[in-house]
C-alpha cells in the first residue's frame, strides 16, 4: 500500500504554475527518485509533502490519513524526516547537538547519546562530535544533514539533493547507506547525480514543468525518449 500519496496537488506562484495537478503514489519500503531539470518544481513538490509550502489545491495523505491541513511539525511527528537542499544545519551548535536536537523528538536521556553516536557513525562523522557544525566542510555538512534525518528513524525520509558537494568516495558510501535503510524506511530522493539514481532507486518519477512526465524503473526511464528530450539530453 502507499505510504504517501497526493491527488491533484498544485502550487501557483503569482501566475507561475510551479506544480500542476500531480497524482503521486509512493509504496512503503521503496526507494523512489524524483528527477527533473532545474526549475521543474521538485523542491516545491516535496515542500508541499512535508508542510513547508502550502498547496494552492490538492490533497496529501500519509499512511492513509489526509494530512493536507496539518502544520509541518505535526507531519514530521507522524514519521517524516526532511533534509534540506540548501544545507541548513545549526551552524553555531556542535555536531553532536545538531543530531541530538533531531533525536530528542522521540528519545530521552542516555538513549539520545547512543543514537546520536550511531547516526554519526553511519555517515562517518563520529570523530567530530564537538566540532562547531558551521566549521565543517560543505560535504560534511551534507552528511550531518543526513545523520539528522537518520536519527529520527523516520518511516519516510525525504532527501533533497543529498549528494551535492560530496566527494566520489562519500557518494559510494551514501549509496550503500541508503540501500541499507529499506525496507524499514521509505525513501524519496531528489537527485541530480544519475549514478546515484540508477544504482539506488527502485522507481523513478520525472517532473517537468510541474507535471509528472514519466514514471518507471531506472532502466525504463533511461530508455524513455520524452525524458531524454526533456532532461537527460542524451537523445
Amino acid at each position: 500500500m502507499s505510504l504517501l500519496s497526493t491527488r491533484g496537488l498544485s502550487k501557483n506562484f503569482a501566475g507561475l504554475q510551479a506544480v500542476q495537478n500531480v497524482d503521486f503514489d509512493l509504496p512503503e519500503g521503496q526507494i523512489r527518485a524524483l528527477i527533473g531539470p532545474n526549475g521543474a518544481g521538485k523542491t516545491t513538490f516535496v515542500g508541499m509533502l512535508c508542510g513547508r509550502t502550502t498547496p494552492s489545491v490538492g490533497r496529501v495523505s500519509f499512511d492513509g490519513k489526509d494530512i493536507s491541513h496539518l502544520p509541518a511539525h505535526k507531519r514530521i511527528n507522524l514519521g517524516m524526516a526532511y533534509t534540506f537542499q540548501i544545507t541548513s544545519v545549526f551552524a553555531n551548535l556542535s555536531v553532536e547537538e545538531n543530531v541530538a536536537l533531531a533525536a530528542r523528538r522521540r528519545l530521552v536521556g542516555p538513549e539520545v547519546t547512543a543514537h546520536v553516536q550511531e547516526a554519526l557513525q553511519k555517515v562517518d562523522l563520529q570523530d567530530r562530535l564537538d566540532q562547531r557544525a558551521g566549521d565543517l566542510s560543505y560535504g560534511h555538512q551534507r552528511l550531518l544533514e543526513i545523520a539528522m534525518g537518520l536519527v529520527q528513524n523516520p518511516r519516510l525520509l525525504i532527501l533533497d539533493e543529498p549528494t551535492q558537494g560530496l566527494a566520489d568516495s562519500e557518494i559510494e558510501a551514501f549509496k550503500d547507506l541508503i540501500r541499507g535503510l529499506v525496507p524499514q524506511t521509505t525513501i524519496l530522493l531528489i537527485e541530480h547525480n544519475m549514478s546515484v539514481v540508477m544504482q539506488t532507486a527502485d522507481m523513478v518519477s520525472v517532473l517537468n514543468f510541474g507535471q509528472i512526465l514519466a514514471e518507471g524503473t531506472p532502466a525504463e526511464i533511461h530508455a524513455n525518449a520524452d525524458v531524454q528530450a526533456a532532461y537527460l539530453g542524451t537523445g
Binding site: R52, H73, I76, S88, N92, L93, R105, M148, Q152
Partner: protein
C-alpha cells in the same frame, strides 16, 4: 565531574559570594546590590526571550509593571498580605504574558518589536488612565506596615538584601536548569535556525509562547519584588525606558549567558554611579564606555569570557 555539575557549582559559587558580600559591604553598596539583584532578575527574564530564543521585545516594561501593579494594587485596594500580593503580581504577569505572547507572536522580526513596544505603551497609558487607583505618574507608596512578610520586615536593609538574593537565586537557578534541559535547548535551536527546528518536528510557536510566558513571569516577579522591597509603585516603571534597560544590561553582560544579566546590570549601575560622582555630564562618560564595549566586546562581558576562555559556559 560532568559539565552540568561543574556549571552548577560555578553558579552556586557566585550566589554564595553574593551571600557573603552582605556581611562586608558598607551600607551604601549593600543597598545598591539589593537593588541590582532585583533588576538583574528582570534582566534574566528578558534574556530568556532575547538571548536564548532570539526574540527582541521592546515592551518588557509591560511585564515588569504588571508584576509591580498586580502586587501593589492588591495591597492598596484589597489590603492583601505581602505574600498574597506577590503571588497576585506573578499571576498577573503570567496572564498578561500569555495574552501578549499569543497576539504578538503572530508577528515576526521588526514587526514583533513594534507590536511589543505598542502593547507596552498601552500598558503605560492604562496605568495613567486609571489614575484613581494607580495615582498615575505620581505612583503610590507601600507603607512599612504592609511590607512585613511572615514577620520579616522587608524595609529593613538586611532582610531586603536576603529577599533580593532569594529572588535572584531562584531566577538564576531556574534558567540555568532550563537551558540544560531539552526545552531550553530547543529555544536555542529556534534562535539559531527556526525553519530547521520546525522541520525537525518541533512546535515552534508553542515553544516561543512558552518562552514569552517564562520571560514575562520572571520579569513580573522582579517587578513585584521591586515594588515591595523598595516600597514604591509608579508609572515610570511602565515607560519605554524600562523596556530598554534590560536590553542594555543583557547586551553589556552577554546575551544568551546565565551570568550576563547580573554582570551587565552591575556594570551599568556602577558606571552611572561612578561617572556621576566625577561630572554632572555623566551620561557622556557612560556613553563612551558603552560604545567602546560594543566595539571591542560585541558579545558582552560574559560573552567575551565564554568566547576566549570558557567555551562551555551556558
Amino acid at each position: 565531574m560532568t559539565d552540568t555539575t561543574r556549571m552548577l557549582v560555578l553558579h552556586v559559587a557566585v550566589l554564595a559570594a553574593l551571600f557573603a558580600l552582605q556581611f562586608v559591604l558598607p551600607a551604601y553598596h549593600h543597598g545598591n546590590l539589593a537593588r541590582i539583584m532585583v533588576l538583574a532578575s528582570y534582566a534574566i527574564g528578558f534574556n530568556v526571550l532575547f538571548g536564548y530564543t532570539g526574540l527582541l521585545s521592546l515592551g518588557h516594561a509591560l511585564f515588569f509593571a504588571a508584576g509591580m501593579y498586580g502586587m501593589g494594587l492588591a495591597i492598596k485596594i484589597y489590603e492583601a498580605s505581602p505574600a498574597t500580593a506577590l503571588i497576585a503580581g506573578i499571576v498577573t504577569g503570567i496572564i498578561i504574558s500569555l495574552v501578549i505572547g499569543a497576539l504578538a507572536l503572530r508577528a515576526v522580526g521588526i514587526a514583533f518589536m513594534i507590536v511589543t513596544l505598542m502593547f507596552a505603551q498601552v500598558g503605560y497609558l492604562t496605568v495613567l488612565y486609571f489614575g484613581e487607583y494607580t495615582r498615575g505618574d505620581e505612583g503610590f507608596v507601600i507603607q512599612q506596615a504592609d511590607r512585613i512578610l511572615w514577620g520579616i520586615d522587608l524595609s529593613e536593609p538586611t532582610n531586603r538584601y536576603f529577599a533580593a538574593l532569594t529572588l535572584f537565586s531562584v531566577c538564576l537557578l531556574v534558567t540555568l536548569r532550563m537551558v540544560q534541559r531539552p526545552f531550553g535547548k530547543t529555544l536555542i535551536a529556534i534562535r539559531e535556525n527556526e525553519d530547521r527546528t520546525r522541520m525537525l518536528g518541533y512546535d515552534v510557536f508553542g515553544h516561543k509562547l512558552a518562552a514569552v510566558v517564562v520571560s514575562g513571569t520572571i520579569s513580573a516577579a522582579a517587578g513585584a519584588f521591586y515594588g515591595l522591597l523598595f516600597g514604591y509603585v509608579g508609572a515610570t516603571f511602565a515607560t519605554v525606558q524600562y523596556s530598554i534597560f534590560p536590553l542594555l544590561w543583557v547586551l553589556l553582560g552577554g546575551t544568551g549567558t546565565i551570568l550576563g544579566p547580573l554582570v551587565g546590570t552591575l556594570f551599568m549601575f556602577y558606571l552611572i554611579d561612578l561617572s556621576s560622582a566625577v561630572t554632572s555630564a555623566y551620561m557622556l562618560i557612560a556613553g563612551v564606555v558603552l560604545v567602546a564595549l560594543t566595539l571591542f566586546a560585541p558579545q558582552g562581558i560574559v560573552g567575551e569570557l565564554r568566547k576566549r576562555f570558557w567555551k562551555g559556559l551556558p
